[in-house]
Symmetry: C2
Subunit: 238 residues, 2 copies
């Protein structure tokens, strides 16, 4: 039944416990508390033993980032699946809301994965997760009326590259798209939306709005309305 040997099972189990302990420490006490010795204490072993599983403290943090991204991806997909309405706009809205909710519920994780300047840590994965969701959604929005001429020519090169990234993401779900479904105008608005979504959520999580916002959710909703309208989701019924 179990393919793995006894030793492999034990090793996998220990590794699982390490990740779990690291995660708990991060959530409870922040990034600086994710210490090799603290993790080891939780497992009832000594710190050097952890080097049998990870090359360094840094590598362990990177693994932690991966786990977090994976969990977030799961949460977003779950929320998307729960939105059974056929309207694409509603699905996009659901994912955006889920992202905000996740970030607010997991501030330490959000901070770790997001806000490290250019570190190899958590690079790419995050945006990738989100846009793997966005790709199919945007692609399934047939009634957008953007044309490539809307977007400045200097951006074309980068947007075409991004177009390919999105197309690959959609392709992994087994769908290939006609050229005009993911036109540059749409792509451009997706990037703009990502900027606003990330901006709002980060400001809220980090508490960096320039004034005390007593009730940020309506502001988020309001932003989403405008975003969706710009992208071309005409149905505004929430």
């Amino acid at each position: 039944m179990t393919e793995a040997t006894r030793r492999e099972r034990l090793r996998a189990e220990t590794e699982r416990e390490i990740r779990q302990a690291a995660r708990a420490l991060l959530v409870e006490s922040g990034r600086d508390a994710v210490t090799l010795r603290a993790i080891a204490r939780k497992l009832g072993i000594t710190a050097p033993a952890l080097y049998r599983y990870y090359d360094s403290h840094d590598a362990l943090l990177r693994q932690l980032c991966d786990d977090i991204c994976a969990d977030m991806a799961t949460a977003l997909h779950t929320n998307l699946a729960a939105e059974t309405s056929g309207q694409v706009g509603c699905k996009v809205r659901a994912v955006c809301h889920a992202f905000r909710r996740w970030a607010l519920a997991h501030p330490q994780e959000f901070a770790l994965v997001f806000a490290s300047p250019r570190d190899p840590i958590g690079a790419d994965q995050f945006g990738a997760v989100f846009l793997q969701l966005a790709g199919p959604l945007i692609a399934s929005n047939e009634d957008a009326n953007h044309v490539d001429e809307e977007v400045p020519e200097v951006l074309h090169e980068d947007l075409v590259r991004f177009q390919q990234v999105l197309r690959d993401a959609v392709a992994e779900h087994g769908v290939t798209l006609a050229d005009d479904v993911l036109n540059l105008g749409k792509i451009y608005h997706v990037v703009q939306s990502w900027v606003r979504l990330y901006g709002h959520v980060a400001l809220e999580v980090f508490g960096r709005f320039p004034f005390a916002v007593s009730n940020p959710e309506p502001m988020f909703d309001s932003m989403l309305d405008q975003m969706l309208q710009e992208i071309g989701f005409t149905e505004v019924d929430r």
Copy 2:
């Protein structure tokens, strides 16, 4: 001539050197390198001596944040003063560009001040600096056509509070405003602009765009165009 005693001068000088050393360490090797012992080494003293100047490592980091914010404020004001065109739109554009340039040139400082989840560290100061600049600029834009009815009612309460913050900021420059100059519609768009500005800059500094952007500046310009147009700066000549 010099009001201060000899001892006070020496103390001030040492404190200056401490801040300078801390800043250099942050820039060179990141947040984790800003260590009491490392700072002390740079000054040729021992670590405990620093406790004559700061209560703790944390307090020193807070001071560092304050310094960074002050420096950024200076940089932004300088850039604003250099924009001698009378058009308000150009001034706003200049400040936004200056912000982006500063953040890209000082990624470690940006990360320290910005992206700590709810820490007392760097709280408020940052947004405050930026919007102390924005207040007068927005207020001086006479030809905006927003009306309060544009913004959802749920947001009124918060926006009115922010309105007061902006009014106070402008008042510190010795100007009092008529009620309709800073109406809620304008305020709302200022917040939206802050979201987008921060979102773009943070994504760029942290390298979290979902694809490799070879030339982000035109994208930033493009965003600014749209932003300014929404706020109501009709003059689009850059």
